[in-house]
Symmetry: C2
Subunit: 470 residues, 2 copies
Amino acid sequence: MDNDSTGRILSELRRWIASAPPGARVPSNRALMAEYGASPVTVQKAMHALASLGLVESRPGVGTFVRSVPVKPRLVDYGWQTAALGSPHSRMPVLSSTQRAVAPDAIALHSGYPARELLPERLVRTAIVRAARTDAVIARSPATGLPELQAWFATELAATAPAGVTPPTNRDVLILPGSQSGLSSIFRALVGPGQPLLIESPTYWGAILAAAQAGVTLAPIPAGPDGPDPDDLARAFAQTGARAFYAQPTYANPTGAQWPTERGLAVLEIVREHGAFLVEDDWAHDLAIDTDPRPIAAHDDDGHVISLRSLTKSVSPSLRVAALIARGPARDRILADRAAESMYVSGLLQAAALDVITQPAWRTHLRGLREQLRARRDLLIQSLREHAPTAHVERPPVGGLNLWVRLPDGTDVERVVRDCEVRGVIIAPGAEWFPAEPSGPYIRLNYSGEHPDRFPEAARVIGDVLRTHA
Amino acid sequence: MDNDSTGRILSELRRWIASAPPGARVPSNRALMAEYGASPVTVQKAMHALASLGLVESRPGVGTFVRSVPVKPRLVDYGWQTAALGSPHSRMPVLSSTQRAVAPDAIALHSGYPARELLPERLVRTAIVRAARTDAVIARSPATGLPELQAWFATELAATAPAGVTPPTNRDVLILPGSQSGLSSIFRALVGPGQPLLIESPTYWGAILAAAQAGVTLAPIPAGPDGPDPDDLARAFAQTGARAFYAQPTYANPTGAQWPTERGLAVLEIVREHGAFLVEDDWAHDLAIDTDPRPIAAHDDDGHVISLRSLTKSVSPSLRVAALIARGPARDRILADRAAESMYVSGLLQAAALDVITQPAWRTHLRGLREQLRARRDLLIQSLREHAPTAHVERPPVGGLNLWVRLPDGTDVERVVRDCEVRGVIIAPGAEWFPAEPSGPYIRLNYSGEHPDRFPEAARVIGDVLRTHA
């Protein structure tokens, strides 16, 4: 069996047979001898092995042919796995409704990803081709990331730091394969199974999912349009003994709200008093509309803020690169988790992302993106006002990609979502953004994925469905 | 503060100031008005804000300049984090010695990554450029991976399946950002904190690390050159109640051994009897030398084998793509963990990897790689025989990238490693490949990273050091 040439011919023929139609003619021994530079004996051995495996049959004087193996539809019972697996630590949904594939002609307001025309497509293609010429193609990236990319993220944060605050160093930046990985690592490394984590409510479903995976216990903090109430937060820290608070202070998903600067500083102060971490998920840094982002991390140089920033939504879902900024032992603890989890991030993705964000055209792109998001947001709000007046946007988002829409009291949200889908409009039920029970009947509408021409029609359908439910 | 234009000018100027030398001249208000299409009032507001932050100073009649902020070397005490973090679940080393950066002129036999000349560099560059022209650049990949890449991995495994065994479907294949991520997910999803996992000893340090991260309890099974003793394995399953066994049956890291077919089938039978999973880490599938790979997964259609195969070492470290094949509820449990951990893998990396492995030149590359690995392996063994006769290779590896070298009894391995490093030869201490105490004084020598011209010199140094230690 270990005869090198026979084994190789055998394995390549089996691969070919696996995809060949039954009855296909196998190359002649002579042809195989020529192709593999093999002896007649070697080739005969391989053909013999194929025949004895029942994969080919030879018709003397005619040739050798792929046997038609009758495919038995096999109904496997994996019941034995039930005992081996036991019950899961936590019930995790495999897919959020935001990631569902839907009928191609549906109006899709559920997806969290920007449409092609909002991405710097030309910049990205050029950057990849340029990166393909560099050593990033064959080299392994350091575990912490490409130094130039670390430096870029450090400089970006330093640019918003008040004088007197020591900005993070390049070493404080860890490059990740997307910010979801960062959430998982932070919750595992800094909180841990069974330990409490304070979390805004409503908030990003991916953070709720990562927390469930890490087995942490969530303590929801209600977040109004100006962020969490500082007294609520202080009380929750005191009551739970939590050492971390997860939040999206800038263009929160789903509400699109931004904490006022004073609120952010008040939260930071409370976090400091409780010897805790603020996990600042700055996911929408590049998705500003009415304001500019003001990361709270820029005000901290004592290692209280762990900040996450992703390029996935503003550069491209294919250049899956994010940065985590953390200082002190917390940084080391997170790095150890990252090393065990994935070792390093593709240098090609890092080099291409760095190329995109250091082009002058990147700033131009961001300015254009701002205007496009503004127009889309305004059109969807206007369409709802006109056609679905009972769907209420409490405060228009000042950034981000979503409208957070309150439906009339008593609305059965799941039924509204289903009825809209039947009529070709896909929307996301608000419940997925709540760490516990929803505080009211909400839906989330994403204005970045679908073509805006279809917003009025979508609003009409939502309005009709709400009227039949009233 | 939320004034859009002022904010934007302010933030861009701060970014510029962060990298500008003290004393640099800030562009004039007139220039800024032109650049941003902003009014005089807007620009004045931004300059005023910069001045009040202490970032610029204006010299009337001369201009505005970046202030030289004296950089106070700040010695931060992150002591508060010590209480917040508590002690870690498990002591995880941040870096294996195989991932250390070393002096550029050192002879590096410690690294686990193949040298540039062993990679299909031209194929990879071409594939990336081709992928850069496709929609993979801007589209989000499905959570389970690109269907064509799933199909490729399924077909590869099907090609070695005996007739009568139902091969895996495309749906059973999950695409991952490297196989390390797969190990973490498998150990978390199928074993879980505090639960036992049987593991070969010695074995891949990355698996030991992933197990520590997942908090599973390891039960080592000694693995000889023909794999684990079936009786040992059956006893360990019975004694520990374990439901999973992690192994590298093909070209194991570090030994390069391959289980004989019969041994593999015997192990599979024991796994079946105990209602357990075999986690088959087929890491070196493309790194064959004397034999062909024979995955045990090809013999299983009841969902007992979870198999992992990576392209990182044979295609390129930058096209970080691996496949996990699992069936039944186990597949769903693992997918849920992957979704929480990283959602999806860059479609660009997947498209480029698929391009490389479906080129006819890929097979040619693998044939050449086999010959290169053979020559390197043989030269390193020959060099040791000649210059370091007490460094004993128990059985030459039949595939993979490493020699597993036994040193004389009583050798202080750590001292040997240090003394070699002082003399410019970097080798890895064997202890990292043992889940518990090492069974003897071993070192691991990788023959794929360094230029073979330097093997004789390396062997001379190792021989000299061993002589001084004798």
